[in-house]
């Protein structure tokens, strides 16, 4: 059996965050096939890891999905660390029409390889009702609560890989940004104290 080269370099190379960078990505979403526990692993790009899930919603469910915006807003307000495990930068939820159908787009940008933390993500989704939103989507497995592989399969089948990603400050993680801002605040406080 041949050893597959890793999709991203196994050793981290120092990456220059001061130099904006773009990456064009093949149609498959990866440069070289590397299998993770639940399928192909997608590469880390200058815009971090991420996914874009697009699925048609069941007719008449648009309001139910929109209402979930408030639910999630409140969940995070009550418990700001709720999604900390996912090492997220941003999430975007969008509804749009194509012809008579309405589609849901869920775009996430984060720092971890989704394959590695699949079960953690599914557990969080279940806890905060994200899966309940998914139940409004065409073809979402009814037994998702007990069938992680079916849930993962749905997500993967509806994942649309980017063909271009761009980072103004490439490869910087959310933790690094938070550390830098903390340091900046600490320095500002120190300078204030020295006045």
């Amino acid at each position: 059996m041949a050893t597959l080269a890793p999709a991203t370099p196994s050793t981290s190379t120092k990456r220059d965050w001061t130099k904006p960078q773009a990456m064009a990505i093949p149609k498959e979403g990866y440069f070289q096939l590397q299998n993770g526990r639940y399928g192909a692993v997608y590469p880390r790009t200058p815009a971090c890891h991420g996914f874009t899930i697009i699925a048609r919603i069941k007719p008449g469910r648009e309001d139910a999905i929109r209402a979930y915006g408030k639910t999630i807003e409140k969940a995070i307000a009550d418990l700001p660390d709720a999604l900390a495990t996912l090492k997220l930068h941003y999430l975007r939820w969008v509804l749009f029409d194509i012809g008579k159908d309405t589609y849901f787009m869920y775009q996430g940008i984060f720092d971890t390889d989704f394959d590695k933390y699949t079960e953690d993500a599914v557990a969080l989704f279940a806890k905060y009702g994200v899966n309940t939103v998914f139940e409004n989507l065409d073809g979402f497995p009814e037994d998702w609560k007990t069938n992680v592989p079916a849930f993962v399969k749905f997500v993967r089948e509806h994942q649309c890989p980017s063909f271009l990603e761009y980072g103004e400050y490439p490869y910087v993680t959310a933790d690094e940004i938070k550390k830098a801002l903390k340091l900046k605040a600490a320095f500002a406080d120190m300078l204030d104290l020295m006045q």
């Binding site: 050893t3 526990r37 590695k116 953690d120 992680v148 993680t173």
Partner: protein
């Protein structure tokens, strides 16, 4: 008992679980993951079946020797510490129907060798280099024997060899003999580290977890057909008469390069104290077993030997930056305790032992293979074992470390580091050598005893 431990104990006693623990079928579950017999020797035999008739005949004659949880767990002397398991290919040869085979999870169907990229067993650890024929689809079954001592092991080996001669179509692919290494008063491996200090407790076994080991884990995390930490049993392979009371085990034969380990310690520590500290930083515990979180500066053998204290620690509040136990140390990767989520869904039962003679002090590597040959038992290989390999062991970016793998157990090729946080300046050792090499591995299904009987009733071509 410290005030903190008292508090732990009280809070544990006060924990009211609304649901009753599932009653485990101790007469049916193989003893392997439930009770650890007082064995000082073992033998693993890897078998291939030329045909189903032979395999079923072999199994029929062996079932009465298979130790159940109730048999081995009792106080009666019982030398039938035999366990049997099958690969997916083995189940097929035994006559399990295709429709049924298809209900087993994908990772088990593929087998461990095919999952090398996921596990991170690349380079020198790659299945291409494995010994004993374990990467082959001809591997069909394993018979695991634990014995009180080497003499008893040899008696059983003879007996099984004689029995195998009577079974047409069953052949020994390879075997491995194991022996505990002296001194025998505590379990340890060839590098000299006290072992088996942290093991999950299965709900319903009546075992009391030691302080710091967390509450008992739902039995469905280890045995099919029982509620797990998420809820009722789901997605069991069919028929249930085959899967109920069964477990998956991942087998790994891991060579330990004792000479290389000692050379490394000498290269990075001038005094023996400095060398012991480096060894402890790689492991997360001193060789005595004393955890660095509780004994950060020097060894405390009494702490290491005290089961009421030696596992009673966590990381998030006590040692968040790893000044005691480095973030990348072996035990902090293998069990991140309160610094990871969903920990109750990642627990595994470890079994196994050491093979090969100990390497005397003062001697460089003698060319004899020695190491640990162990099994990891669980209900989901992909969620439990493969996660541990993929993320905890071999993800260079675990805990945002950037360029590290498990310093003891990870796939090392001289390109990864270990960071040892220290005030004022951390110490980083670059280019860690491999202290271990995976020499073989496989996935097995350990059926319950009734399921073993079911397998003997099958026939070919159905």
């Amino acid at each position: 008992m410290s005030a903190l431990q008292q508090l732990h104990r009280i809070s544990r006693d006060l924990t009211i679980r609304t649901d009753q623990p599932a009653s485990l079928d101790f007469d049916d579950i193989q003893h392997f993951l439930i009770s650890r017999p007082p064995a000082r020797a073992a033998r693993y035999e890897f078998l291939t079946f030329a045909n189903g008739t032979g395999g079923r005949a072999w199994l029929t004659g062996l079932i009465d020797k298979v130790g159940t949880a109730s048999g081995v767990g009792s106080s009666l002397p019982d030398s039938r510490w035999v366990t049997v398991g099958f690969t997916w290919d083995g189940l097929r040869v035994l006559g399990v129907a295709e429709a049924s085979l298809a209900t087993f999870p994908e990772e088990f169907r593929q087998g461990m060798a095919a999952r090398a990229g996921i596990l991170g067993t690349t380079g020198a650890n790659h299945p291409d280099h494995w010994v004993g024929g374990l990467a082959s689809t001809n591997l069909h079954a394993i018979a695991i024997l634990f014995a009180r001592d080497v003499a008893e092991r040899e008696r059983c080996r003879q007996e099984h060899a004689t029995y195998l001669k009577q079974c047409d179509g069953v052949e020994l692919l390879s075997a491995l003999d194991l022996e505990a290494i002296p001194p025998f008063d505590y379990a340890h491996e060839h590098f000299g580290f006290h072992d088996r200090l942290s093991q999950p407790v299965i709900e319903g076994t009546g075992v009391e977890p030691t302080p710091g080991s967390g509450p008992p884990i739902k039995s469905g995390e280890f045995f099919l057909g029982y509620p797990d930490e998420e809820g009722p049993a789901a997605g069991m392979p069919q028929p249930e008469s085959l899967s109920r009371n069964g477990s998956y085990v991942a087998y790994l034969r891991m060579q330990e390069h004792v000479g290389a380990f000692r050379d490394f310690l000498r290269a990075h520590g001038e005094t023996s104290e400095q060398q012991e500290l480096i060894a402890a930083k790689l492991m997360g515990r001193w060789r005595s077993g004393a955890p660095l979180v509780l004994a950060p500066d020097k060894d405390d053998p009494k702490l290491g030997a005290d089961p009421q204290r030696n596992n009673d620690f966590s990381y998030a509040n006590t040692d968040p930056y790893g000044y005691g136990c480095p973030l990348g140390a072996h035990i902090r990767r293998m069990n991140p305790r309160d610094t990871a989520v969903n920990m109750n869904r990642r627990k595994m039962i470890r079994r196994g032992g050491t093979y090969g003679p100990p390497l005397p002090e003062g001697i460089s590597d003698d060319g004899i293979e020695r190491g640990i040959a162990a099994f990891v038992g669980c209900a989901s290989l992909v969620r439990q074992f493969e996660f541990a390999m993929n993320v905890w062991t071999n993800d260079p970016n675990f805990h945002e470390l950037g360029n590290e793998r498990d310093p003891i157990f990870g796939t090392q090729d001289g390109t990864f580091d270990i960071t040892i946080p220290k005030r004022p300046i951390r110490k980083k050792i670059k280019g860690l050598p491999a202290f271990t090499t995976i020499r073989a591995g496989a996935y097995f299904f350990l059926p319950g005893v009734k399921a073993l009987r079911y397998l003997t009733t099958l026939s070919d071509g159905l």
